[in-house]
Assembly symmetry: C2
Homo-oligomer: 443 residues x 2
């Protein structure tokens, strides 16, 4: 008697990511109760299982959904507002004034929906967010069906969301409690950056993160200026300040990590903390280079993020993965640095590790949540297929994502969203864009 | 009485590229006899002209077709054969053996067709090629309707195409004569590189290029090793050897140009020669960085190319344009370096200038050939549209190209090729792939 499952997906190639660099030809994946039941040769799958739904994927690769380990989703509404400007002009004269004027529950809702539509269509099944009104982000994510990690943001400046350090933490803890029973909505403390959060708030977060067993998501060493400021105000580089505060631990996902000294890499490696590399944002803002090869050699787990769409200007993890692989070679002067399979791991399982979700997602393994995507390689620009992983990283694009599942639920089918309405989102975005542009006095 | 034209295209935005950074809202472009007749506000266009065909493009940008100023089109068949390897291992153990075994008229035909399909679908209307059997490339290009510059390749090594320097030049001149009456097929001498072509052949090319008034297309300073070898074999750096041979002139399109000294930039600038920047190939092969900002400051014309698909691994000029803009900022440590409009010029009019085709193509101006593309910005990842040029460079992708015209002829319509059969090309590519992979002993 064949065993009953919910879905059987028959793919030309299955790329489980764990183990790294494995490609399974003509295999099938069985889903039951939202979880991966088994991965096995298609012939065996057809005799062993009977499925409610069968999805044949000829010429397609089935792989884990991509994990965007650092973004500010709602900033999608500020995409391209002010490009090609020095970082401080960009922030002081455009982004911060726009945020001060426009951030509201409605802005966060519409911006997060736009971002989630983009992320799902481009194969991202989980995003790690840092922005204001994380409760609104959580409700939008819940409604869309995507997996998310809500950043419980803390910053020493008032915003429409909270007025001071205590208020940010208080509201953050409420958000944590609000979503704790939701299997797809996770939380992390998100102190903004060393230069924008003082020691008292960081010390409380250290204790609270231990108690609640959730990660800490923080910008660290984004620019050289941040380091200079750290030396001026705290008599030490930001990394050593965080070390002294006890923040370097396996709970920390440190975003950006440019301008690192060898000793800092060693201390960071010993701590078990994670790096989130954002190559396109670092390039666009001329922030500096994250020494990816050295970090990997030091056995540091390196995940990948797009950053917000205001500094990228998209949330496309396929592009980010490719840029990461290319840039590591260029910066390292070594064409063998960060091979395709390594870049694919950074965009999937390494992200799950950085967020403490590696038991649940980030690879195709029995028992894990069925968070996965299908990518059509039968396009002129990914032919011929010598090595599917090479094609996925170096030649494929977001437009080749045909199907996206989160916990077994189909959120993109044949390239179309099932839970979000693109026409409506574009109309809302356009409406916001007109108002924001009219108020952007420096344009 | 309205004037009769062949086509009227009504776009949400027209971006002529010349003048740089101009965006014309709600304008129309009239085409007559394959040439741009006029660009004017849509309301005026509708009263002044009567057209056989009208194409409304709501939410779309109409812009010049992209010019890929350096590629080896037929190498599309070797895409992803051997990635993440040091340059010399890649060449010696994979690419050169595969070329020695497989290069033939059939390989060039099928590979060029695959590449042209990819280029057209991603908005490229003109490519500058360097490869064996340029006559086959020319016939394939003529049949597809794309504009091309055939490299009359010369190299001091025998190949399936020619046996020695004289033979390469002789066959190259025949190719030049064969296509001289074809308005869409141009030619350029293509001496491979300083390290692979000796002085006698370079001296003859210098004279012939002057006589025929066609450009010279050459790899120059691709890697640091090339410079070391130049010093060993010629007692001078490659650039100064080319200078002594009289090759630095407005006829030269020098590809790659990494590891440059300040004095070399000055000499190059004074010569009026052009640079073709290939950022993704330079990164992938860890060749070094082309100092784009310094070149632009020295008033050197910088065009853009993808290089062959074996070292990129696609022929996507949207991606190349974005990488160029991002990398210039990262390498220059300046977020204002190479703004979006500058990157767009590099991918269009600067390419035309480097190829001596700037009277004919590269911008939307009355009298020029109607080589142009429409790009749909009405997608979630390019909304909202604050500045269309920013969205085109930093957020848009090849998949948003809906229409492509060369000399007024529609080659891509609603995202589908009109002169090439994708299913057939993919099948041919797959057939080649299987044979080549089986023979790639090092895989």
């Amino acid at each position: 008697m064949p065993e009953q499952v919910d879905q059987l997906i028959h793919a030309e190639w299955i790329i489980p990511v764990v183990p790294e660099n494995q490609v399974l030809d003509s295999h099938s994946l069985a889903v039951k109760g939202g979880r991966i039941e088994a991965i096995l040769p298609t012939a065996q799958a057809k005799s062993r299982y009977q499925a409610v739904h069968e999805t044949p994927l000829p010429g397609q690769a089935l792989m884990p959904g991509l994990i965007n380990a650092h973004t500010h989703a709602a900033m999608a509404l500020l995409r391209g507002l002010a490009d090609d400007l020095p970082l401080m002009t960009w922030l002081n004269e455009h982004i911060w004034p726009a945020e001060a004027k426009w951030i509201s529950e409605e802005f966060i809702h519409d911006g997060t929906q736009l971002a989630m539509a983009e992320m799902l269509l481009s194969g991202t099944t989980c995003f790690n967010d840092m922005y204001f009104f994380p409760d609104i982000t959580g409700r939008a994510a819940d409604s869309a069906g995507i997996r998310s990690v809500l950043g419980l943001i803390a910053i020493d400046f008032p915003s429409a969301w909270a007025c001071d350090g205590d208020d940010y933490l208080h509201k953050g803890l409420q958000v944590h409690d609000q979503f704790r029973a939701n299997p797809l909505i996770h939380t992390a403390f998100a102190p903004h950056a060393p230069y924008s959060v003082g020691n008292p708030v960081l010390e409380r977060i250290r204790v609270l993160a231990d108690e609640l067993e959730i990660p800490i998501h923080m910008h660290v060493h984004e620019t050289h200026d941040e380091i200079v400021q750290g030396l001026q105000h705290h008599d030490t580089r930001p990394m050593s300040r965080l070390h002294a505060l006890g923040l370097l631990s396996p709970s920390l996902a440190a975003v950006h990590m440019t301008h690192l000294e060898q000793q800092e890499i060693e201390i960071f490696a010993a701590s078990g903390a994670h790096v989130v590399h954002c190559p396109e944002s670092n390039l666009k803002l001329a922030s500096g280079f994250c020494p990816v090869s050295e970090l990997l050699e030091a056995d540091i787990n390196v995940a990948l993020g797009t950053d917000g769409a205001a500094s990228n200007n998209d949330l496309d993890m396929f592009s980010e993965m490719r840029t990461a692989a290319l840039l590591a070679k260029g910066v390292g002067g070594n064409a063998s640095a960060l091979p395709a399979a390594g870049a694919l791991s950074m965009a999937t399982i390494n992200g799950a590790r950085a967020l403490g979700l590696h038991q649940e997602t980030g690879s195709l393994e029995s028992g894990k949540s069925a968070d996965m995507i299908a990518v059509d390689l039968n396009r002129v620009h990914t032919q011929p297929v010598y090595h599917p992983i090479s094609q996925l990283v170096y030649a494929a694009g977001r437009e080749q994502v045909t199907h996206v599942w989160v916990a077994g639920r189909l959120l993109v089918s044949d390239g179309a969203l099932t839970t979000l309405d693109v026409a409506k989102l574009n109309a809302r975005a356009s409406h916001w864009g007109e108002r924001i542009l009219a108020a952007d006095v420096h344009t």
